[in-house]
């Protein structure tokens, strides 16, 4: 299914797609009462109370004043209805504000100011600096001659850094006056909620010469609710509007979480209701029998001989009303009140206030606070949760020589400083990769100081370190990149950026030296993603050793490499790359394949080691929690040795004599299954001994295990108190949570990054840390805290 958007064509796409009216409302004025009541009555308890309340209206059978049930019932219904109504009203207000905002739109080749809700698919929307994007746009032009603009996407994904957006190549060089009259067609998929993908093509109609298909990616879109920054103006054509935008599609209420107590209450309510019915039937029958045999003899009661038809029902129904307090209506009222008070206490707690970022803790979900005390498994992310996620460049290994080993800080190592000063070619190349091979955006403030905006902390650390070593990235405008080496400005033209994906685990940049026209490819990535592609002649032993050595210290390692390309090879490859970029289906996979073709025969330059400091008090906290019988699992994307090192340093596992580490590894199904069985066997034996046993599994083996040996792994999971899962993907994290949940354990997932969101949503309790990796996790979580362990 595809959508064809005709740019600036009022006849073609006027009515097919919805307008840009955003509506997050659940109710309208008319359907509020019935819909809300229906929703509330979908709970069994409420139905029960209504039944009782209705029975009480029959004065023949009621023992009490009906107000005693109707009062509280109406009260709780009114409270939750008011809450809903208030939320909905606020949603309405914010919708209205967004809908009535005025934007510049081209109509009949003239710019007009219209309300945001009147934007149609195909309209060209003009934005100025700091404007909010009213709907999903495909960029057509910006004030920048290279067609670059910057957006802040914090409302969308919680990341506060600026992102670069580029106009499609077909639109480069179109004068801004001509943009009013631009015509063309964009072929794009139907609306979905993936904010990281947009695989489309654009074809401009004559007179705009370029009649070729031009690929579009997410990089040339402006998504709804982003902000345009550092760019004078930008214009784009609306492709998705209203509730069909990426943001609109990804909105949705996550499944409500039920606490153990709630689930128990629901179960017990059902059981009590059944019991009540039995009691009512038994007592009702007995009552009727007694009435017919005994009570008729009681002359002072004056029973009439013939009663109405419903007389048999009277006594059972009276018993039902008498028994109705078995499920007290107060339980609902008081539980709700107490729970919201708990949540407030969490919000109010000063000891959970983070001074550094000035964020108090916040309980988003008020209903599950009592479950916090019942957690049996804590699944934690490593980066940013156990560690601070503040990266510091510590050591490096260039061409077999390690720097920073003595002082623990390579930036102060005189050897390295000397090497830089003497412009040793290896070191210079190494620094060049550090400075260039990234997606960092340097911005110059007025006083000349350069600040870097980076998406990843690692890149930030590397660029800063490079700048410290006199290889400063000073400017990046369009494709031209400027580097200041010892006061000498060198320009490079960026030809292609082979982006980092979690599957490839590396990124590369193809640049052209503006002085001598040489084309070089610079790569950096995880060691196992780079080493296999090293050129055959190179000795990589020294590097492998360095990687292992650094991992021992708990440092994050990155491998830097480069390759010179000759022009023909690049030209040839460039074509296939372009083609891959324009595919609509499986683009990511195709791109990865094409990138692979270029990333081989790499000359490895060196290894960087970045320290990721532990949070304050982490070891003590983990120690305490483990004493309380809470099991810890660490799920991280880092490599095995780093993970184990971190785990050791934060008391996660005990060192050798007391603790034991069991590894599950292997590349094939057989190997994994054997290793799993061995671990399971050891585990079974050691459960009786007072020994800390932990198992370590990496993402690859985990994939096999989860697919083929689920049961064995479940048993293992139950047996072990500690587990370290390294190299796991976000979906595997969520799968692990699901696995533990299926064994009836209460799980708490804690994390800070976008990769933890799924795990957090899946777990019984999700805790998000509003840390450096953006606010995504905190938004998805039930509880968010400023920093980790207090």
């Amino acid at each position: 299914m595809k959508r064809y958007v005709y740019i600036n064509d009022n006849d073609m796409s006027q009515d097919v797609y919805c307008d840009n009216r955003i509506s997050n409302r659940k109710y309208t004025v008319l359907n509020f009462v019935p819909k809300n009541l229906l929703e509330q009555f979908s709970r069994f308890m409420n139905q029960y109370f209504l039944l009782i309340a209705c029975l009480q209206l029959w004065s023949l059978i009621t023992p009490v004043n009906p107000a005693s049930t109707w009062g509280p019932l109406i009260f709780i219904f009114a409270v939750s209805a008011t809450k809903e109504a208030w939320d909905d009203y606020n949603r309405y207000l914010s919708d209205k504000q967004a809908n009535e905002k005025e934007v510049w739109v081209v109509k009949q080749a003239v710019k007009k100011l219209i309300q945001a809700q009147d934007i149609r698919v195909g309209n060209i929307v003009w934005l100025r600096e700091n404007d909010e994007v009213p709907c999903d746009l495909v960029l057509l032009g910006t004030s920048d001659p290279q067609g670059v603009c910057y957006v802040e996407t914090s409302a969308l994904d919680g990341e506060t850094d600026l992102k670069t957006r580029v106009i499609p190549s077909a639109c480069v060089g179109i004068a801004s006056e001509l943009l009013h009259k631009i015509k063309g067609v964009i072929e794009c998929p139907n609306p979905d909620k993936d904010i990281r993908r947009f695989d489309a093509n654009v074809r401009l109609f004559p007179p705009f010469i370029d009649n070729d298909l031009c690929p579009l990616t997410i990089n040339s879109t402006l998504l709804q609710s982003c902000y345009l920054r550092n760019t004078e103006w930008a214009c784009g054509v609306a492709v998705y509007t209203g509730n069909e935008t990426k943001l609109g599609m990804s909105r949705g209420i996550p499944e409500p979480k039920l606490t153990a107590v709630d689930a128990m209450i629901d179960k017990l309510t059902g059981a009590i209701f059944l019991f009540q019915i039995v009691v009512v039937i038994v007592l009702g029958t007995a009552g009727n029998v007694w009435k017919d045999t005994e009570a008729r003899k009681l002359w002072y009661v004056l029973y009439p001989n013939e009663g109405p038809w419903y007389e048999v029902l009277v006594i059972p129904l009276r018993f039902e009303l008498l028994c109705s307090i078995m499920i007290p209506i107060s339980i609902k009222v008081s539980l709700d009140l107490v729970k919201s008070l708990y949540a407030k206490f969490i919000d109010w707690d000063q000891e959970m206030y983070d001074h550094e970022t000035s964020t108090p803790s916040h309980a988003t979900n008020t209903a599950i606070s009592e479950d916090l005390g019942q957690v049996e498994y804590i699944l934690t992310d490593k980066t940013g949760t156990l560690t601070e996620n503040r990266m510091i460049f510590r050591r490096c290994c260039i061409n077999g020589i390690s720097y920073g080993n003595e002082s623990g800080d390579a930036l102060k190592d005189p050897l390295l400083l000397n090497a830089v000063a003497s412009s040793s070619p290896d070191v210079i190349r190494f620094l060049m990769v550090m400075a260039i091979c990234n997606t960092v955006i340097p911005t110059k403030s007025k006083n000349g100081a350069i600040t870097y905006k980076a998406q990843s902390q690692d890149e930030d650390a590397l660029v800063h370190a490079a700048a410290h070593l006199h290889m400063a990235l000073v400017n990046k405008s369009g494709n031209i990149l400027e580097i200041n080496l010892n006061g000498l400005v060198i320009q490079y033209e960026v030809l292609d950026t082979l982006e980092f994906t979690s599957d490839r685990k590396r990124m590369s940049v193809v640049v052209k030296d503006c002085q001598n026209g040489k084309i070089i490819m610079l790569s950096k990535g995880a060691d196992e993603a780079i080493f296999p592609y090293a050129c055959s002649g190179q000795q990589i032993r020294a590097f492998v050793e360095a990687v292992e050595q650094y991992a021992q210290f708990g440092l994050r390692t990155l491998c830097l490499a480069w390759r010179e390309l000759n022009e023909d090879e690049y030209e040839e490859w460039s074509l296939t790359y372009k083609e891959a970029k324009t595919t609509l289906v499986d683009r990511e996979w195709r791109l990865a394949e094409v990138c692979q073709r270029l990333e081989h025969n790499l000359e490895i330059l060196g290894i960087t080691a970045i320290e990721d400091r532990l949070q304050d008090g982490v070891p003590e906290t983990i120690e305490t929690l483990r004493k309380a019988g809470i099991n810890f699992w660490m799920l991280t994307g880092d490599k095995q040795s780093t993970a184990i090192q971190i785990a050791l340093s934060c008391n996660f596992i005990s060192p050798e004599p007391k603790g034991q580490l069991l590894l599950i590894n292997g590349k094939t199904e057989d190997e994994v299954s054997r290793s799993l069985e061995r671990v399971l066997l050891t585990m079974r034996i050691t459960t009786s001994e007072p020994k800390d046993v932990a198992f370590v599994v990496d993402g690859w083996a985990l994939e096999i295990v989860l697919n083929h040996y689920r049961e064995a792994f479940t048993e293992l999971a139950i047996l072990s108190r500690t587990a370290i899962c390294c190299r796991v993907t976000p979906s595997q994290k969520a799968q692990l949570v699901k696995l533990l949940k299926s064994c009836d354990y209460r799980t708490l997932a804690i994390g800070d990054g976008g990769n933890d969101v799924r795990m957090i949503q899946q777990a019984d309790i999700g805790v998000g840390i509003s840390g450096r990796e953006g606010l995504q996790a905190a938004r998805a979580a039930d509880y968010s805290i400023g920093s980790k362990f207090f």
């Binding site: 939320d87 914010s94 009681l298 002072y300 009661v301 707690d349």
Partner: protein
Amino acid sequence: MTSKGATSSGGGDDGATKRNSKKPQYSRFTQQELPACKPILTPGWVITTFIFIGIIFIPIGLVSLFASERVVEIVDRYDEDCIPAKYSEDMVAFIQSSKTNKTCSRTLTVPKLMKSPVYVYYQLDNFYQNHRRYVKSRSDKQLRSKAYASETSTCAPEATTGNGSAIVPCGLIAWSLFNDTYGFSVNKKALEVSKKNIAWKSDKESKFGSDVFPKNFQSGGLIGGGKLDSSKPLSEQEDLMVWMRTAALPTFRKLYGKIEVDLEADEKITVVIQNNYNTYGFGGKKKLVISTTSWIGGKNDFLGIAYLMVGGMCLFLAISFILMYVIRPRPLGDPSFLSWNRNPAGHFN
């Protein structure tokens, strides 16, 4: 709370960012620092508490039991004995007939000196004054004031006479008024039984109006219990007030009157009973009770025994805890007793 963030992105999330700029306010309530008492049940505390309860309760129990022992009580069941032998097959017919002689004479012996005031009660067994139909069948409004004489809606089925005029007092309770009478004499000399001040003060002064006179009472086809003097206002009909304080249990005593003189030990009291009230239809019993009172009320051993039992149990528990504490002490708050430490494989369950 409010989600009117400037961004208008829709969800309620904006509120979080708005709040986040602020440090939570300090107050002892919000920081949960209000003075609180969290008692830990250490062995010392538990044992002390049990001993304390035992020491307090046992004397109270003894005193109550002693007081109950001092109450002198005569109980005489007369419902079957007051039926002539020839009617013993059909007691209902006897009691319902207006021609039979229902006078019956009983002789009671005073076991011990009974100091005045001596209370006279009638006790009914198996009489359900708590039956729903019965207990609801009254009109408090009508009893209170003349103006509400026709307020008989709650009185069914004894609300109105056949021709529709209101019965005062209406309802089943009033209609089934107890109507046995007792005449006492000692050594042929009549014993005065005072029927004044046997009802509650509040009943006399406010619940039963002084301007409400019985009307159409017991005039229908079915005669229930006793009749009322229609010249006396309800506020003076103390028997009715006593009767209309319905009992919660099927066995109950109601005050009949007070004897204001002492009764010597071994005195013979002759009671002339007018046996009018029908308990034969439903197998109830009628008893005459003559009793003195003490500070705990009438004769009742239950309170004393209950106190003694609880006190004894507490002492017993205290002693056994002391023994356990001496023989097998264990450190307080030992984590090795926690479920997951007891059994290394405790994850199984």
